[in-house]
């Protein structure tokens, strides 16, 4: 094995490795969507966030517009304070509503934004007023059972 053959093979190897890395970054992970672009942060209080986690997507009309960057518990209002990191390309009115939704029946939870009609746009550091907590399955079920029981009593 002479020198230039070794060089050639090492060159091929390194090129292949870099192409594989590039493939992983572009085709497998989506480097295009990974933007260090400008973003702004807003906060929203929820009575119950259910299973919402940091890095959960924020969607509006089904399009991902940002990510959850922080979930805290507020010791005074006894509510969860969620920090939303939203891409600066997307602007929302001040009276936008935030809901914690679930993708599918048992899927992951995300925040859905529903734009309102206020002419002033929301700014960095603002707090969303209108929020709707996560639907907790246990509550739903117990409510359903309770109603059934009521119905049973009424029909008697």
């Amino acid at each position: 094995m002479n020198r230039s053959m070794i060089d050639l093979w090492v060159g091929v190897f390194v090129a292949m490795g870099l192409i594989a890395l590039l493939f992983l970054s572009l085709k497998v992970g989506n480097l295009a969507s990974f933007s260090t672009a400008e973003s702004y942060q807003i906060q929203a209080n929820f009575a119950n966030i259910g299973g919402l986690k940091v890095r959960a997507p924020i969607k509006s009309a089904g399009v991902v517009v940002g990510r959850v960057t922080d979930v805290r518990f507020d010791n005074e209002s006894f509510e969860a304070v969620v920090t939303l990191n939203i891409d600066s390309r997307f602007q929302f009115p001040k009276d936008t509503a935030a809901k914690i939704l679930t993708s599918g029946l048992l899927g992951e939870q995300y925040i859905g934004l529903e734009a309102g009609g206020d002419p002033t746009m929301i700014k960095n550091g603002d707090r969303l007023k209108l929020t709707q907590s996560a639907v907790v399955l246990e509550n739903l079920i117990s409510q359903f059972m309770f109603n059934k029981a009521q119905e049973g009593k009424d029909s008697k």
């Binding site: 094995m1 090492v10 190897f13 490795g17 594989a20 890395l21 497998v28 989506n30 480097l31 959960a56």
Partner: protein, 266 residues
């Protein structure tokens, strides 16, 4: 009473011996880093070793990657279709490979293919007095022999792990899309939506770099530390594979705990 005392003495002895060896290995590592200048100034030396550590491991890495990916495709589909979410096959294959299997399996293969070769080569050079001859020629064998091999391993390992993952995803695609008939659009788009560059791809690369450092360090140390006899070299080669593989698994657990518990699981 005597038996307990004997057992405790043996335990203490074993612990002391291992700690001492770890200390020697660490000092060796620092000396190696300190004398790595030659490996970069005369990069040809390192390129030569990249050939032996990296290029010669290519076949086994590519073939294993392909098969691991194909198996993931089959098994993943089998499980996912029960829940009616077979489009998530791409996500499953890509995440398992990029985060775990790529770095870990490529690292294990690297330890047994390249690590053992490095240990055996350095050990034999020592047994045949080539290392002593170099010292007597006023050439530092750690700078001239060990450092290029170490850096070649550190360079090769992430590339091999990336090739393994890429090949595995291709294998999963072959089985999932071409063979079973999962929708290719869903396969790729779900994968792209779920795989995060920093969280998944970058962390996988970091893992493979750490594994590369650990395995090659163990390999060069075992070779350099091997008793200069036939049994000594064969024992050192075995230890490289065993210690190297265990180190990969232990480090993988620690790195995974550090990297993936803070954030969202998906």
């Amino acid at each position: 009473m005597n038996a307990i005392r004997h057992t405790l003495t043996q335990l203490g002895n074993a612990v002391t011996r291992r700690l001492t060896r770890l200390g020697v290995a660490s000092r060796f590592f620092i000396y190696l880093l300190w004398h790595s200048g030659t490996a970069f100034q005369r990069f040809r030396l390192t390129i030569r070793e990249v050939y032996f550590a990296g290029v010669l491991s290519l076949i086994i890495i590519l073939v294993s990657g392909l098969f691991v990916g194909m198996v993931l495709g089959l098994q993943g589909y089998d499980t996912l279709q029960r829940y009616g979410s077979s489009e998530a096959l791409g996500v499953l294959v890509a995440l398992s490979l990029v985060r775990e299997l790529g770095p870990v399996v490529a690292g294990l293969l690297f330890a047994s293919r390249a690590g053992s070769a490095i240990t055996a080569e350095i050990g034999l050079m020592k047994a045949t007095e080539q290392i002593s001859a170099m010292e007597m020629m006023a050439v530092d064998p750690i700078a001239r022999v060990v450092a290029p091999r170490f850096w070649a391993g550190v360079i090769s390992m992430p590339l091999l792990a990336a090739l393994f993952s890429a090949m595995g995803i291709f294998g999963g695609y072959l089985v999932g899309v071409q063979l079973i008939g999962v929708d290719p659009g869903a396969f790729w788009s779900q994968m792209q939506a779920a795989v995060d560059i920093r969280q998944d791809v970058m962390n996988g690369v970091i893992k493979s770099v750490v594994f590369g450092i650990a395995v090659t360090w163990i390999a060069v140390f075992e070779g350099y530390d091997a008793p200069p006899t036939a049994e000594g070299v064969s024992g050192a080669t075995t230890r490289t594979v065993v210690t190297g593989s265990l180190a990969i698994l232990a480090l993988d657990f620690m790195l995974t705990a550090l990297m993936f518990t803070g954030g969202n699981a998906k």
